[in-house]
């Protein structure tokens, strides 16, 4: 009987798996997306605006559904297969989903186009046809839009692009929708192709300007004309202004222009072209097909996004400012450009936006792959709205987006948001919201233009948590008190008072004279630990392959010592007042055990000498031999090219003081395991930037201190009785303790309570997860949704912005 009941139970258990399985993906490397609206009553395409949902009464009612009788659709290119797929975005249960263009063929069938389809263009007014740019086959395919829904296949007609190797990079319709503009980076041209129904005419080519105008220098602009600062705070710490700096020296990657992306300026109806080869922006009149303006911005860029007009300051009521964001083609960073008024001296200037270097780049931690400006619920004609759907502050928060924001897709698979204009500011802050903010956790509020949007409420500010501690090198951990002392004054130095220079603020102790300064600006602070180790190893100097030369007076290795920050006693500045002036130089620590050839030798005397040199115990523990470094070289001309660094050593050892390098050579006849350590100082490493230093390789290949880098606070060694200062932290150590010799105590300070910027991880959505590869962000102003294209896992994602969330995925 038991056996009879067992199997049904097992079957029931097996069949009751509640975890939904994700459907197999139909998309294969999607890249671009465009939209059209379908009239379900007439069974035909219609203007995109017809799919605009009714204005929702609340965030909960914002479902993005068009009026009854209409359905929003998306078109998505498929890079691997050379096709375009269609997906119905809206509808009731079962209706939204990828569309099989030819139901007669098993599996999903899409419209075949050319090789590597990379861009789409569809009319917003009368989307009878879809235009598909294929980079690999260098043509534009035209597809009758309605065929995507017919179920009987969708054919395409290809029109080749002019030139031998077009390799087109971008395409869009002109504002009048009477022509296609195609970017041709190989020749530095744009092509204008007239559109007449399903037919494309002959292309007209425009050579883009290649001369480089000087970038705008904001230092030459009067203070009252500088770009305004839009900022809202509540109980926030002191916030610093980004400094006005000189524009960067222009960088060109090629000789000819390389148009990489194009966007429309809806106010001037011109086309702004990103140049991926020269540090330029090109402004094109699409009617006369001429270049009307060329702006120098110091770097080539490869993607653009333009804001609508927004108010200048928190007090302004009239929108007067516009900003153009671009992705730096050299490193994937984001720059903000003033695009407000061509009559202003600041028009086209790359703006300083951050308080930490690089000042002229948005705080985006990883290279950007895509960007888009989103403006949910925003109307430039009525920009000031009293907390749109706040309902007495109930919904105003970091995750409710009403206004204008920048979305940036980064290589780590996240979409990050930056404030441009938040309509809900006056409802934010428990103490500042006029009673409209009912959430007591919303204590500290900071909302600033071009700064990361903070998604979570902040009830405490940036702090050191826990308090600083000393690890006294196996003797125990000592807490640093508010006066800077510990319970082990003979083992570790005290922390002495310091002055905090902007943009750093006192972080420890909470009250009283500062002992530790760090960045408290909630946007610029970094959650990381600072560790200072007495006579610690310089990072990246450990090796098992050091080779003695010159009878033991030099060591050659594969380490580029100048780049990792090693300095010899005879290479330090002679000026005792300069940073590292008077420093005793770094030392070599031989950390490896005696080699097998010594340990197994029959020469007892030799073995005894070597055991004594290393103070080797029967258990095999050694005390590292310490050798003074006098000179340090990188890439010297007279060593084999497979080696990189050379250390010139003092003959007499530091430890044991009675020995010489000849003794070391005798006991280590094979390759040496060693590392470089600082001497009578602390090696300071930061969690994010590691060990900073001002050391460079000089003209003679000797490592030397670069004064400019030292003055820029690129420092990594802290000394007794002096202040240690970098751009991230400041502290000061007292006198050398009496019992510190031979020990390596470690000071640890952790910056905590750093708010994280608002972001969405698109790699894990619903039942699917995996490594994502974000490639496009497209804002659809009709349904106020942000669409992200993930080539790797999720396909097309539809993000709701009124309360940030992933609403749907199509794959």
């Amino acid at each position: 009987m038991k056996r009879v009941l067992f199997f049904p139970a097992l079957l029931a258990l097996a069949c009751s798996n509640p975890t939904p399985t994700a459907p197999p993906a139909a998309f294969d490397r999607p890249e671009d997306v465009a939209f059209f609206c379908w009239n379900l009553t007439t069974n035909s395409v219609t203007a995109l605006a017809d799919c605009r949902p009714p204005t929702p009464s609340s965030v909960d009612d914002d479902d993005g559904e068009p009026p009854v009788g209409y359905a929003l659709h998306a078109l998505v290119t498929q890079t691997t297969t050379g096709e375009v797929a269609a997906a119905r975005i809206t509808g009731t249960d079962g209706e939204p989903g990828v569309i099989d263009t030819d139901v007669r063929i098993p599996g999903y069938t899409f419209a075949a186009v050319g090789d590597v389809p990379s861009a789409l263009a569809v009319s917003r007014i009368d989307p009878q046809n879809v235009f598909v740019l294929s980079r690999g086959s260098a043509d534009v395919s035209v597809i009758h839009t309605a065929d995507f829904r017919r179920g009987l296949g969708a054919g395409s007609t290809a029109f080749p692009l002019p030139g031998d190797r077009p390799l087109p990079s971008a395409m869009r319709l002109t504002p009048d929708e009477d022509a296609l503009l195609v970017a041709l980076p190989e020749t530095g041209q744009l092509a204008r192709i007239p559109v007449s129904g399903e037919t494309l005419g002959d292309a007209t080519l425009l050579d883009l300007v290649a001369t480089l105008p000087d970038p705008v220098d904001l230092r030459m602009v009067a203070a009252e004309s500088l770009p305004p600062r839009w900022l809202y705070t509540c109980d926030a710490p002191s916030l610093y202004e980004p400094p006005i700096i000189a524009p960067r020296d222009p960088v060109s990657l090629e000789v000819l222009p390389g148009p990489a992306a194009m966007i429309e300026d809806p106010i001037t109806r011109e086309i702004i072209v990103a140049d991926g080869a020269l540090p330029l922006l090109h402004v094109i009149d699409p009617v006369s097909f001429t270049e009307t303006l060329t702006i120098g911005i110091s770097v080539p860029v490869r993607a653009l996004a333009l804001t609508p007009l927004v108010p200048a300051t928190i007090e302004s009521t009239t929108p007067t400012e516009r900003y153009l964001y671009a992705v730096d083609a050299t490193d994937g960073s984001i720059l903000a450009i003033d695009w407000s008024d061509r009559a202003r001296p600041t028009f086209g200037a790359v703006l300083p936006v951050e308080v930490q270097p690089p000042y002229d780049r948005l705080n985006v931690p990883f290279p950007a792959r895509a960007l888009a400006v989103v403006s949910p619920s925003y109307d430039a004609d009525e920009p000031i709205v009293a907390c749109a759907d706040a309902q007495d502050g109930g919904y105003a928060s970091g995750v409710n987006l009403h206004g204008v924001f920048l979305a940036v897709g980064t290589v780590d698979g996240r979409v990050r948001f930056y404030d441009v204009f938040d309509e809900d500011t006056e409802c934010r802050g428990y103490d500042c919201g006029g009673g409209r903010d009912l959430d007591v956790e919303d204590q500290i509020v900071a909302i600033g233009r071009h700064r990361p949007r903070l998604g979570a409420y902040m009830s405490v500010g940036v702090s050191l948590d826990p308090s600083p501690t000393w690890d006294t090198d196996s003797v125990g951990v000592e807490l640093v008190t508010d006066s800077g002392v510990t319970g082990a004054p003979d083992l570790v130095p005290v922390l002495t008072p310091v002055t905090c220079d902007a943009p750093l603020d006192s972080l420890f102790p909470e009250e009283g004279t500062p002992l530790v300064c760090a960045v408290r600006d909630p946007w610029a602070a970094i959650s990381q630990s600072f560790i200072a180790t007495f006579e610690g190893a310089i990072p990246f100097t450990s090796t098992t392959g050091a080779n003695f030369e010159d009878g033991g007076l030099t060591l050659v290795t594969h380490t580029d010592y100048c780049s990792v920050g090693v300095i010899g006693s005879l290479d330090v500045p002679t000026d005792g007042g300069a940073y590292l002036g008077g420093y005793a130089g770094d030392v070599v620590a031989v950390t490896g055990d005696l080699p097998p050839s010594i340990l197994s030798t029959t020469d007892e005397a030799l073995l005894n000498r070597c055991n004594a040199l290393t103070e080797r115990t029967t258990g095999g523990d050694i005390t590292p031999v310490l050798i003074q470094i006098e000179h340090v070289e990188s890439h010297p001309d007279d060593i084999h090219s497979s080696y990189v660094g050379r250390l010139r050593l003092r003959e007499a050892l530091i430890r044991p003081a009675t020995a010489t390098v000849a003794d070391v050579l005798e006991c280590y006849p094979e390759l040496l395991e060693m590392e470089v350590r600082s001497q009578n100082s602390f090696v300071v490493t930061a969690g994010r930037r590691g060990f900073q230093h001002p050391i460079v390789e000089g003209a003679s290949h000797f490592c030397e201190v670069d004064a400019a880098r030292a003055d820029a606070l690129q420092r990594g060694r802290a000394f007794f009785d002096s202040v240690f200062q970098t751009t991230e932290v400041t502290f000061a150590l007292g006198a050398r303790p009496g019992d510190i010799t031979g020990r390596h105590p470690e000071l640890q300070m952790t910056v905590a309570d750093v708010p994280t910027g608002l972001n969405v991880d698109i790699s894990t959505v619903g039942g699917t997860s995996g490594a994502s590869l974000l490639t496009r962000l497209v804002y659809n102003d009709v349904d106020d949704r942000l669409y992200a294209v993930d080539q790797s896992v999720q396909g097309l994602l539809r993000l709701k912005l009124s309360r940030l969330s992933v609403q749907q995925t199509f794959r």
Binding site: T80, D412, N547, G690
Partner: protein, 475 residues
């Protein structure tokens, strides 16, 4: 009935004895370890895994021969093999039989070049057997006349000599009975390399260092001694072992097998490939399950070369990528020493990295670009055509070859028509690409010259008999 037949206990014992005897006889038949297995049919490709060109001067002349390593992945035969294909004869057949070649051009009746039978494709210069599951191939850089194979079945390095006039030399002989005078294409076997060529020498240093060469060899690279030292002592060989170790050998050029010198551990587990950075003597290692790219270096003891070491040259991370935890190959930019391309499966892409600029931390690569490729990216190769650098990624699951133009920084072509594209090699002089199609045991030949004008490479021929994967029962 009581009293009829043996007592119950005795009956039970008899049952047990009979059962045991039956089991023993079955077991004896099933576990007959003296069975030799199936000898391979000559000129058969069976799951080719690696290929290389014999092309001592790529700038001056087309490659003359193509080496194909057959892994015998399904263990259908009792040995793997390596074949040397005469490419001039291949070109002649493409011209004569296929009008210059095309996607329908399949040379499937491969035989030896001295086989004059009609309707055959005599392109194979020579063929010898080596252990099954070879996992790579490297050539001696100086003259390309010695080949090195990491072989999983022997867990060691096999070395074979080659002469473009006469073929392979490895003291080879037939295992099976072959009548004297039998044409090699009619023999029921192929000659196999002697055991002396299948293992490396262990001399005093190996014993002193207590070296134990175990684990799965996955990759091999040859490093001329002058690349890492000032004294010519022969060639060093680095062999990556899957479990995160790298072995060092020295081939002193005397003709003997290489000598095992050192094994270093501490590298990431699940190593996949080993690629030498040009001119540095530093090998870069890719691995599954980590976002770190490890480096291995050789330090030469110039006084006693046999005491040279390998060392861990440190790791760099694919930081900032989602999530970078599976790298399958790395290739260096042929024209820019500060650039490398990493083939990643998470995400499935080619990642261009800056070797000099660091990323978020000093341990992270500086990222330049990420190019999407197809599912299951497996191997990477670069080439320069008319001064432009192209990066080609074979994607096994997508069954396609993805081609990136490094100058424009974009995917420019996707070539399909394959079943299991894997390792690839390019003849830059002839603008020919040869690719292992693992799933159907053939070699694909592509003309990549159209890339010079923005076109798409074309399949011009297939070498071998298209053999879909069979079930283990042979049905």
């Amino acid at each position: 009935m009581p009293g009829s037949g043996p007592p119950t206990k005795v009956r039970l014992l008899m049952h047990v004895r009979v059962s045991l005897a039956l089991l023993a006889s079955i077991g004896a038949a099933a576990c007959n370890f003296s069975q030799a297995g199936l000898d391979p049919t000559p000129t058969t490709m069976n799951f080719p895994i690696a290929i290389e060109l014999f092309q001592p001067d790529p700038a001056a002349a087309d490659a003359s021969h193509l080496f194909v390593v057959n892994s015998n992945f399904d263990l259908r035969f009792n040995t793997g093999s390596v074949q040397a294909i005469d490419l001039a004869r291949v070109n002649d057949l493409l011209a004569s039989e296929c009008g210059g070649g095309g996607e329908d051009c399949v040379l499937d009746r491969l035989t030896f070049i001295d086989d004059n039978r009609a309707d055959m494709h005599p392109v194979i210069l020579d063929e010898v057997g080596l252990g099954s599951h070879a996992d790579g191939l490297a050539l001696r850089p100086s003259d390309q006349r010695r080949l090195y194979f990491p072989v999983r079945s022997t867990r060691d390095l096999t070395s074979i000599d080659f002469d473009p006039a006469s073929g392979f030399t490895c003291d080879q002989s037939y295992r099976a009975e072959v009548e004297p005078g039998t044409a090699r294409w009619d023999a029921a076997d192929i000659p196999r390399c002697s055991d002396a060529h299948r293992v490396t020498r262990r001399e005093a240093v190996a014993n002193e260092r207590e070296l134990d060469l175990t684990g799965d060899p996955v990759a091999v690279a040859v490093v001329p001694s002058l690349d890492v030292g000032s004294t010519e002592v022969g060639d060093f060989l680095l062999m990556a072992l899957r479990d995160g170790r790298v072995a060092l050998f020295l081939d002193d050029g005397s003709g003997a097998s290489p000598e095992l010198l050192h094994i270093a551990d501490g590298f990431p587990n699940n190593l996949v490939t080993l690629t030498m950075e040009p001119g540095t003597g530093v090998g870069w290692l890719t691995a599954v399950g980590t976002n770190e790219i490890a480096r291995v270096g050789i330090v030469v003891d110039s006084g006693t070369p046999s005491r040279s070491f390998v060392y861990d040259g440190g790791r760099l991370r694919l930081g900032g990528i989602d999530d970078g935890q599976d790298s399958r190959d790395i290739q260096f930019h042929p024209q820019r020493p500060d650039t490398a391309f990493i083939l990643s499966r998470r995400p499935e892409s080619v990642i261009e990295v800056d070797l000099q600029r660091r990323g978020l931390t000093n341990m992270d690569f500086g990222l330049r670009a990420v190019f999407e490729v197809g599912r299951g990216p497996s191997r990477l190769v670069t080439t320069v055509i008319d001064g432009r650098t192209f990066v080609l990624a074979s994607c096994f699951d997508a069954q396609r070859l993805f081609i990136i133009d490094a100058e424009v920084g974009a995917l420019v072509a996707v070539v399909g028509g394959f079943s299991g594209p894997f390792e690839t090699v390019i003849d830059p002089h002839a603008n020919r690409l040869y690719m292992v199609d693992f799933s159907v045991s053939v070699i694909r030949v592509l003309d990549i010259s159209p890339l010079a004008s923005g076109g798409v490479p074309t399949l011009i021929g297939t070498l071998g008999n298209l053999t879909p994967v069979m079930s283990l029962t042979g049905n």
